[in-house]
Amino acid sequence: MQTATLPTPVTQPRSAPPEPVGTGVRSFSLTINGAEYELNVAPWTTLLDALREYLDLTGTKKGCDHGQCGACTVLVDGKRINSCLTLAVMHEDHQITTIEGLADAQTGDLHPVQQAFIDHDAFQCGYCTPGQICSAVGMINEGRVKTDADIRELMSGNICRCGAYPHIVDAIRDVMQLNPTAQ
């Protein structure tokens, strides 16, 4: 079992974020991976940009920025969403979970889906992986998967440019303890 060091919440990012343009900067807080983060950002900041540019939570990736690739998938109140197509300010009072928050906060043990991706070598470059893993966790919460075909259909929002799909399916099937020959 691998362990992960959880990043401590930062209120000041390492690098200076881009200055918000225009007026109307808003102050609000977001609950991410159980921690409160204060934000002073313009309302047009997407949740994805807030995570990456302002909060230093760069595990969540930007692929297309248009809802088409799933690299930016995070969980909001347990549901998987594309963080590139939602504004940060829309998520005050929501519970946001990113890839950084999936491992067990006490022990640092990886989430079973993270571990299965390692065990099954379910990635090549790894760029889509945080999105794939968050999406898989969301899909498992939805409770509708019975077969490999269901996994492929319900993971269809997460594109893998390297084509690691067969191993991604293997990893998820393993975590869900599904029968690989189930129809």
């Binding site: 343009v21 225009g22 007026t23 109307g24 808003r26 313009a42 309302p43 047009w44 997407t46 940009d49 920025d65 248009h66 809802g67 088409q68 799933g70 998938t73 549901k79 998987r80 969403i81 594309n82 197509l85 939602t86 504004l87 300010v89 829309m90 999406s135 969301g138 899909m139 939805e142 319900l154 269809s156 929002g157 997460n158």
Partner: protein
């Protein structure tokens, strides 16, 4: 990244949203059409009125012989609703094939109808179901028949200061219905989408998304089918779109194929 400024206003109720829309700007629901279009600068409202937290816009219920779907219901809410599966199963079937699960977790029926993308799935379904779209504006609420709602590409009968509040769908005992689409494989938008409702007396209603720049009820084909003839005049009298996904000729062909599939499904 959105590269120009706008104001963000959050509405807590329908009346508050209507009041805020009267000051200008656009409603923001799931954001899954509006935000991409703002990133592409196809849309640049000065203000967004977030209607995503309005409880009155959520929920699906039966009201007499109508199924009432709140405009803020997500495609996912609709696909998984027992009431929808029981009374208007085509809506659950169609909603479950919009985009992918993350899109279905945010995108809403109200946003999709207001956006009126010619390739969106809801338009064909609400047309064939003979649904009514209820909207609220500064002078109160009004009901618009789906057949009067879509006016052209991305254009509807909705005024800028009006909010869609609910979609009312007649529940017909013994009706059979289906939505069949040929999807663009990446986005799953309809290259051709065909919705058919067959009433208990055997009469059909047929509507198409994706075929023309405005979704439409195909009344010429309905007349043929309802008088016992075969459907030879699919999409007659409408201009059929042609783009890099499908030429006009191919779309017309697909419209025929998907009508046949839909008719078989309700046979």
């Amino acid at each position: 990244m959105i590269t120009y400024p706008f104001q963000y206003k959050r509405a807590g109720s329908i009346s508050e949203a209507v009041a805020l829309l009267a000051e200008g700007g656009k409603a923001l629901s799931g954001g899954h059409s509006l935000i991409p279009s703002m990133k592409l600068r196809l849309n640049a409202p000065d203000a967004l009125v977030d209607v995503g937290r309005i409880a009155e816009l959520k929920g699906i219920r039966l009201d007499g012989n109508e199924l009432v779907i709140g405009a803020g219901s997500t495609h996912g809410d609709i696909a998984s609703s027992g009431l929808v599966q029981q009374h208007v199963p085509m809506f659950a079937e169609g909603a479950g094939h919009i985009g992918d699960p993350a899109v279905r977790n945010r995108g809403t029926i109200g946003g999709s109808l207001a956006h009126a993308d010619p390739s969106a799935d809801w338009p064909a379904m609400v047309l064939a179901a003979d649904a009514t779209i209820v909207v609220e504006g500064p002078s109160g609420s009004r009901s618009i028949k789906a057949t009067d709602f879509f006016t052209s590409m991305f254009e509807t009968a909705l005024a800028a200061d009006e909010l869609i509040t609910e979609v009312r769908v007649p529940v017909e005992n013994g009706a059979r219905m289906t939505y069949q689409k040929f999807s663009q494989p990446a986005s799953r938008y309809a290259i051709v989408g065909c919705a058919v409702v067959k009433s208990a007396d055997g009469k059909v209603r047929v509507a198409f998304s994706g075929v023309s720049d405005t979704p439409f009820r195909d009344t010429a084909v309905e007349e043929q089918l309802n008088s016992g003839q075969s459907a030879t005049s699919v999409a007659s009298g409408v201009s059929v779109m042609s783009d890099h996904y499908a030429s006009e000729e191919y779309r017309r062909h697909l419209a025929n194929v998907f009508l046949k599939r839909a008719l078989n499904a309700v046979a």
